[in-house]
């Protein structure tokens, strides 16, 4: 295996782990907002998907997001971090990964800056994660669902901008 490829796999594995665990750091701050809006979440997952999107920016690989989503799902199952989704948790990780891949393909054909591409991809990944969680667990509908998805979208966009900045800085180190 080429050294550069191995380095990339290690980076992807690191991003998988960061995506799984680091959202706990954002949770206390996110909860202040979601509790005041009376919705069950939607912010910290956007921070988690940011690592997925950043990794996909560097990995020269098709379906990188889906693969990382599957790995995250398997890790979550193995470590018992399944939350209220239970055995369906891998779906909750796989869907944003798949959406990330599809968004990257679609946005790759549209003229836009890297920052726009990363932010929009993360927004879609975040909204898809929220939508999946709602379908599997929360069962929200009507205006609460709209609010929940919109909050996920806004935070996806915000963390996407952070991801774009992170990508810029990492480019100097990784490539």
């Amino acid at each position: 295996m080429k050294k550069s490829k191995l380095r990339m796999y290690i980076f992807m594995a690191l991003c998988c782990t960061m995506g799984l665990f680091i959202k706990k750091l954002v949770n206390p701050f996110a909860n202040i907002i979601t509790e005041s809006l009376h919705i069950p979440g939607g912010i910290s997952t956007a921070f988690s998907t940011m690592f997925l999107v950043v990794a996909c920016q560097f990995a020269d690989m098709k379906w990188c997001g889906s693969l990382m989503g599957l790995v995250q799902g398997a890790l979550a199952l193995a470590m018992g971090r399944v939350g209220s989704m239970g055995a369906l948790m891998p779906i909750g990780y796989f869907v944003p990964g798949l959406v990330t891949d599809i968004a990257r393909i679609v946005f790759g054909k549209i003229k836009m800056t890297d920052t726009e591409r990363i932010a929009m991809t993360n927004m879609l990944a975040s909204v898809s994660a929220a939508f999946t969680a709602n379908a599997l667990v929360f069962g929200l509908w009507g205006v609460v669902l709209v609010l929940y998805l919109a909050v996920a979208g806004v935070s996806g966009l915000a963390f996407g901008l952070l991801g774009a900045e992170l990508t810029k800085r990492l480019k100097k180190v990784i490539k």
Partner: protein
């Protein structure tokens, strides 16, 4: 303009979120602190948690990690809670938390002895359905019980 698409998208999303937040926060029923809103036949009334005839409850529930957690404390069975309000004719009960998360309990489960309880701690109610294999119906900070 640099990153014009992001600005347009952000403005659109924030506008949607703001409108939805205003509608959601102004139309949701505000429940008095220390109470649970009971909705039946289109009518709603607050039930004070302190007024519930609680008993000692113990059993095993499954948490989000799939681990078995021993539960013991004061609580009231859903059947007793509905009987307290003289509600007999229903098919299901939907329990809703402060963050709009909800779980359904069928009439059979409500009537099953030792199955569905409202556990009470620090003037806060939590739905516990004993025997479930996951935590989907573990609803904390219960604010509303809709009986249909």
């Amino acid at each position: 303009m640099k990153n014009k698409k992001i600005i347009i998208m952000a403005v659109a999303l924030i506008a949607i979120a703001a409108v939805a937040a205003v509608v959601h926060l102004t139309t949701r029923d505000e429940v008095t602190a220390g109470c649970v809103e009971l909705v039946y036949n289109g009518k709603s009334h607050d039930v004070a948690i302190s007024d519930m005839k609680k008993e000692d409850v113990s059993g095993i529930r499954v948490n989000g990690k799939g681990e078995e957690i021993e539960v013991s404390g004061k609580g009231i069975s859903l059947a007793d809670l509905l009987a307290m309000k003289k509600i007999e004719d229903f098919t299901k009960v939907t329990v809703v938390s402060d963050d709009s998360y909800s779980a359904e309990v069928s009439k059979d489960e409500v009537m099953e002895s030792g199955k569905a309880y409202m556990m009470v701690e620090d003037e806060e109610a939590r739905l516990v359905v004993f025997g479930d294999t996951n935590s989907k119906r573990s609803v904390s900070n219960v604010k509303q019980i809709v009986v249909e």
